[in-house]
Symmetry: C2
Subunit: 468 residues, 2 copies
């Protein structure tokens, strides 16, 4: 049988040993784009970008160096549509908007779903916002304003107001007839939301089920078990959790009176999940959580300096502990050689515990129900690792310095520090969470200060007491 | 107007100041469950669990201490269905399976979609696997075996083989008629995949679009722009990326001959995205990437010891650098006081760069196209931070020890170490990625060893050369 030619649309790595760059534009296409920019050749640029997905064009724009980005936008601004604009990362969006002609922005905004317009204008001042919204129909602008009335990072900001609804007494035939005759429908929808006369959602029907059912069945009979509404005031992180936990595809959003105000679809929830992870990982590392690969040098310095400044303070605290034991070190220099090992093991053990705790809190796997059990586990693990590596370091120290007293001291200090590391690693994030703060703020910086201070203090203090 | 009573199904935080535990079962329900287990009261337990979602029941089982879990399963095993079983975390799944009667497992497996069965049996040995699959119809078992023939963590393992297909020349009316008359349909589906006579997918039609279109329109006219197929050999992480990047809801999966073999839906892609993040964050922290909050003490120790053992080796390397300068420290104990500051700042700066790089590679924001620019940025940022904090530390050192030479030495060492931190933080993950390894394996342990060694060497070496 003849080999069928592969479709152009096929993506996703036909070849098991492909590498990551097979996604998005290939090297050859990027080279063509580069040449087109160099030559200020608009039509070559348009031709190269024509087959590209809006998300890939947005990524391309983000990855350009700032000067080159301006050059690119000067050539391509007329082609920027709503889809590209809504894909562009916040970090460079203002810059891009300023470079675009007003007419292009107005046209782009008119193409967008209301949730994308909200995302675009929510950080603008009222003047800029009003100007953008003036491009919309009055009803669309009102929908955007309604969303903006909900708190930042809430379900109300995430939802789109375009929803397909029907009363639950309708039959399948009536619902299909209604959809077919409706001249306005959302770009994508997967469920019909059933509402009572006061617009309270009472269930939803998956389109697949609608299609598969008898024409005289009522929508009420077809409502899915998975139905659950989301409050417009719910935090977006909680919304992402609910989608992931219950495998939802879309969820109706309700106001305080339980009235339908919009719908959230899983692709938006997935994007939030992605952002929440990004925040966790960046906060744990002590990097501003807005940081992105397209930031300039100045932005990057500004994000990182506060954390490094915090660290210099905590490092000075640890240094003062050492300074307190200067005499001991002057008498036995081996202490200076060995003390960073105790501190470093504590820092690593604390980071392990901390990360597991932050992750557990993020996924709700760690909750009031099992917190005590997890604390107990971490303490026992800290003790076990302390004894194990205490013995290892005592043996190494004995072999290196032939000093049994020093060996005993480092072994004991290791046990103390790994125990403190376990406690700090689990209790600090649990405490922050209890206080309503982000547990990921318990970044390495804070927790490792504790293990540094305790490590130096235990080791040098024991050595002073026992050896000198 | 009277307040409408809130529906029982409503979830997602009605109250803006609710806390995390509002999701899943409340404290009151958990107390009832506890009491039921204590009293060995099966009917009370069933009544308490009856309103709970399968995902929440699975979480509950995961969070129980091992002994209590056995007790729970002894009481509840008859009620464990396919949905609960497919939600249970891998880390305790074997344990749960062993405690369940075979008939319960067989019944549960029959209810599952093929992708969930694959997930359940893929890590079993052939004997156990054959036993589970014997519960299925021959055709379902064959579908599972077909999936298992694809590599681990591939799209082929993730897909479900149940797909609704139609030829592209069909009209809307024919498609609807077909769906209505079909007695077997997947639990959930959002698109009809269009296939040619050799089962090559040529497009797909969203059900919303199908419903909204004229009855005589052909499916070919309705195919979505977003259509793209995924190779059954594609890595699941790449699949998650494609879904997130292109806002897909479902994607047909094809074999090497571009023939349709299944479909992946976004909820599975979202779960993979979540797991990939988990791996990144746990690997960066030097924790086994299989670690979970429900692990026992022994499992936890086993996961963490290798990383701590690696760290002891790297810490010993740093200690040997210090030992090399013992004489200098004996002459000037202030060196021992200050040296951890230089090392710690380097470690923190390296972690910042490393995390941004690992995250950028995971999201494909960092790629060949902009790697050079990002490396350049990180080096400039490292230099800028080095100069800034070098001056700060020189000033502090001068104020503390009144020794201008020592101040100059620590300032210079800081510049050197933050520069090295930037280089190590960006080049190590890029290098690992180039070699096809996971860049998150460049965990703190490895990169901070470099900054420790370089920090001690630069500071103590400069001090020996200049001051003594």
């Amino acid at each position: 049988m003849a080999e069928h030619p592969r479709s152009d649309q096929t993506s996703g790595g036909q070849n098991p040993d492909r590498d990551d760059d097979d996604y998005g534009p290939g090297a050859e296409l990027l080279a063509r784009i580069d040449t087109a920019i160099d030559n200020d050749d608009r039509s070559a640029l348009n031709a190269a970008l024509e087959p590209m997905h809006a998300a890939d064009i947005a990524d391309l724009i983000e990855r350009l160096a700032p000067a080159r980005r301006r050059q690119f936008l000067a050539m391509y601004s007329d082609e920027i549509d709503g889809e590209i604009l809504s894909e562009i990362d916040e970090s460079i969006r203002d810059e891009v908007l300023e470079l675009l002609p007003r007419s292009v922005v107005a046209e782009a905004v008119r193409e967008m779903d209301s949730d994308d317009v909200v995302d675009l204008v929510e950080d603008m001042d009222e003047g800029d916002r009003a100007q953008i919204l003036s491009a919309l129909d009055a009803s669309d602008a009102a929908a955007v304003r309604q969303s903006l009335a909900y708190p930042e990072y809430s379900a109300g900001r995430l939802m789109q107001s375009e929803v397909v609804t029907a009363p639950e007494h309708w039959t399948v035939a009536e619902a299909i007839e209604f959809i077919r005759s409706e001249d306005w429908l959302p770009e994508q929808f997967y469920h019909i939301v059933l509402v009572d006369p006061r617009r309270h959602p009472t269930g939803y029907v998956a389109l697949g089920r609608l299609l598969a059912s008898r024409r005289d069945a009522t929508l009420r009979e077809l409502t899915e078990d998975s139905f659950r509404t989301v409050s417009a005031f719910a935090e977006e992180g909680d919304v992402a959790y609910v989608f992931n936990q219950y495998h939802l595809i879309s969820a109706p959003v309700v106001d305080r009176d339980d009235r339908l105000v919009g719908v959230i679809t899983i692709d938006d929830a997935m994007a939030v999940l992605d952002e929440e992870h990004e925040e966790d990982i960046l906060r744990l590392a002590g990097v501003g959580d807005e940081s992105s690969i397209s930031d300039s040098v100045m932005q990057t310095v500004r994000q990182r300096v506060p954390w490094l400044a915090t660290n210099i303070v905590t490092a000075l605290a640890a240094a003062s502990v050492i300074a307190f034991f200067e005499d001991a070190i002057a008498q036995l220099v081996a202490l200076a050689v060995l003390m960073p090992i105790v501190a470093s093991m504590g820092g690593n053990a604390a980071t392990q515990t901390l990360t597991v705790a932050v992750r557990g809190l993020a996924t709700r796997d760690l909750s009031r129900a099992n917190a005590l059990r997890v604390v107990r586990r971490e303490v026992i693990v800290g003790l076990a690792n302390g004894v194990l590596f205490g013995i290892v370091m005592a043996a190494i120290t004995w072999a290196w310095f032939r000093d049994p007293g020093l060996a005993a001291v480092i072994g004991s200090a290791m046990i103390i520090n790994l125990l403190v590391a376990a406690l700090a690693g689990i209790l600090v994030p649990l405490g922050l969470n209890k206080l309503g703060a982000d547990p990921a703020l318990a970044s390495g910086t804070f927790v490792t200060m504790m293990t540094d201070v305790v490590g130096f203090m235990a080791f040098l203090g024991l050595a002073s007491a026992v050896l000198l």
